[in-house]
Symmetry: C2
Subunit: 473 residues, 2 copies
Amino acid sequence: MRLANRIVVPAMVTRLAGEDGRVTDELRARYLRFAKGRPGLIVIEAMSVHGGKSGPLLRLSADEFIADQADLVQRMKDLAPELKVVPQIIHFLKIARSGWRQKPADLSHADIRAIVAQYGAAAERARRCGYDGVELHMAHAYTVSSFLSRLNQRPDEYGRSLENRMRLMTEILVEVRARAGADFPVGVRYDGEECIKNGYTLQDSRLIAVRIAQLGAAWISISAGGKFEDAVAKPGVPIYPYTGYSGDRCMPPASYPDGANLYLAEGIKAHLVAEGWTTPVVATGKIRTPELAESVLQSGQADLVGMARAMLADPDWAVKVASGRADHLVRCVYGNVCKNLDENFRKVVCYLWPKGALNAPESSDAAPPSWKHDGVLHGRESAGRIHLTWDEATDAEGVYGYEIYRADGGAEFDHVTSVKGTSFVDKGVVGGVAYRYFVRAYDYAGNRSARSSELGIVLAPFSAASLPRTEGA
Amino acid sequence: MRLANRIVVPAMVTRLAGEDGRVTDELRARYLRFAKGRPGLIVIEAMSVHGGKSGPLLRLSADEFIADQADLVQRMKDLAPELKVVPQIIHFLKIARSGWRQKPADLSHADIRAIVAQYGAAAERARRCGYDGVELHMAHAYTVSSFLSRLNQRPDEYGRSLENRMRLMTEILVEVRARAGADFPVGVRYDGEECIKNGYTLQDSRLIAVRIAQLGAAWISISAGGKFEDAVAKPGVPIYPYTGYSGDRCMPPASYPDGANLYLAEGIKAHLVAEGWTTPVVATGKIRTPELAESVLQSGQADLVGMARAMLADPDWAVKVASGRADHLVRCVYGNVCKNLDENFRKVVCYLWPKGALNAPESSDAAPPSWKHDGVLHGRESAGRIHLTWDEATDAEGVYGYEIYRADGGAEFDHVTSVKGTSFVDKGVVGGVAYRYFVRAYDYAGNRSARSSELGIVLAPFSAASLPRTEGA
């Protein structure tokens, strides 16, 4: 499989499929929107190999699902001929509102044989749909990941030792390659680290990567966490595996630094290279800037860069960066509104999009927004935070939002976050450091207004004198 | 403060102090043993500033504790004149067997004033003891860390914003420097990342480091996790903050790669440098080999290397490495027996030490152990694991244990772990990779026997043919 570029849209749940597992108009529109942005590879959201009921989730569990998806692939290719498209296929264990959930040890050998066969049959169908390959979902809280888990203490040949924990994964990969054909590219997405107590870490995930490479996978995509074990239970609702710490690690929110999970892809890639394998590795997890993406590739930390939330915020990421218009990117703020919508069984959209929109807006408008008055930025300190307000901007097609930029001390300006309104409270500041701010408005096409006025502000610096007097002990 | 080398023994609980907070013979012996190993800096285990009852925990909460500790410092210096010694001082909130625990929001302003004053008074006492400085414990599940936490939503000026969350830490640092004198070196140990859901990450810890530097700290020591929020409750026992995922991150067990938390010290150091601060940073967390320690220093990831468990296993780490006898190191296996002993309110010793020993053995024996027979290593595969057995070794002073070395594929031999007996089951192996093993016996002085015979073994490689046949779906 030859990609036009090294940007990957990883599988992202949309909740736009039909309850019957079919492609809907809304789902089709979402993927055509991604296709227009010309990434190298789009992984269509996880679809079940076994057809278990699970709300609006795509299925590839029977031949009846082929026609719809063949049509979707064809339309995406018509729009972007160089684009490669693969589905992610998944098997998941049963969960109940009572809190009960099925575990690896509950499966009989016949159950396991059926799962292996279902993966194989779904991969074969993926090929018949016209997909360029298939990605096997072996990450997070689902079946294969639960077998890979260091917590899998199944007493038979599918549990305890690493080799046994990898057996289901191995059997599936072998079956998929046999059924879909050795020339059909098969990728695997799995956790570089479970991020739970007694879970596996890079020590094991490096070895799992070797096995995946041994079995001839075409790519290895690294995720993290997203497990049931530390999920926060809500009474009466099936447990959702992204609500605990491992859920944060899976989709690092704004409180995490960029590239928070990069060390995982890096450690796995380095081990593969040391063992003589060239299988390409996809890094994901809060990668958003072209600078970071480029550095990941140049330094050899990974071979491909996956961006889920950044692509949801701006599906044109790849085409804008490739055409020298990185300054027109709509930047994800990692507020995880998308994650929360999924968690609450609602259609997944981006907080930054205009109200009611099911996709990122498209516009060829070239005129940037302008400030209604003179773009003055005001600020004040209160309770250790900096409160900013600014003038409204105006634009022919509509103002999309405002970007807040901050320079700490003598450093360069950096994008802090984006908001829709004309005020922002910055909680990530320390007294004694000189901060400078400016704000820019941007429109649907990503055109930026002139900078607002620049504001310098120093929170009360701490010194012995400024502190309340303490009595001696 | 000028150190003889960049090796730090971080504060480690021993449970060897008296219930009355006094220095016991056993505790004194432990620290004299550390002193003999000639690290640059020893941080004596956390001692309370407030004298709350908490089992065998040292105290510096009143003048009556000065004499004992002055004597301890003097003895350590007599033994190792270049050594620097500081105490770590701690305040902790109340916990009850019922599961209740005091939280930041429960403290009145008078309580907070008292804590600040207690820290100041304890630091002044540290100076009177003859310590070279003092380290403030602001990590893990304790009072200041709980204020620093992103979960601290106290509604007044001590909660919510980062500046407010840092207020208690700031007041304590100012008070300590005022009371102990500006020329008395004060270090701070805190979490680079909380490692809990909604906890802070490098984004905040970089800024906390700036505040610590602003206040003139002499060093910044980086830990991680160790929080109450994800601790595993045991009925009828006060909750122990190292039992959850964040506890693993605090003291990474064998399942973690070496240097698992290095990225934290590295990120903090880089931010300090960018902001113009030269405050030295101590990195900790499963650093055990001289190669890794040297690389941390050479690459500028940190200025000092802290090793707790590695020093417990071999207090002579620094002196052996400095004298070119790194091949005599007794290597920690990160089985966390020491951690479990603390968790179960028992005296903390190392699993590797001879049965009943309260300290690592000392020996000037120069004769290495020898194999009783011809040192043959046997191995077989079972259930995806490699089972090794070997001949017994013999030594004039006693065999301490056996080291297992493994080479994966074409790579170099690496120390896997050490055991006391003559067998080992390796679970961290994958089929299809060629492994080679050898074993060495070592004695109390760290002399190694000749290598056992070398054993090559390949777990059944996975191929389609070797797998059970799957029926079509």
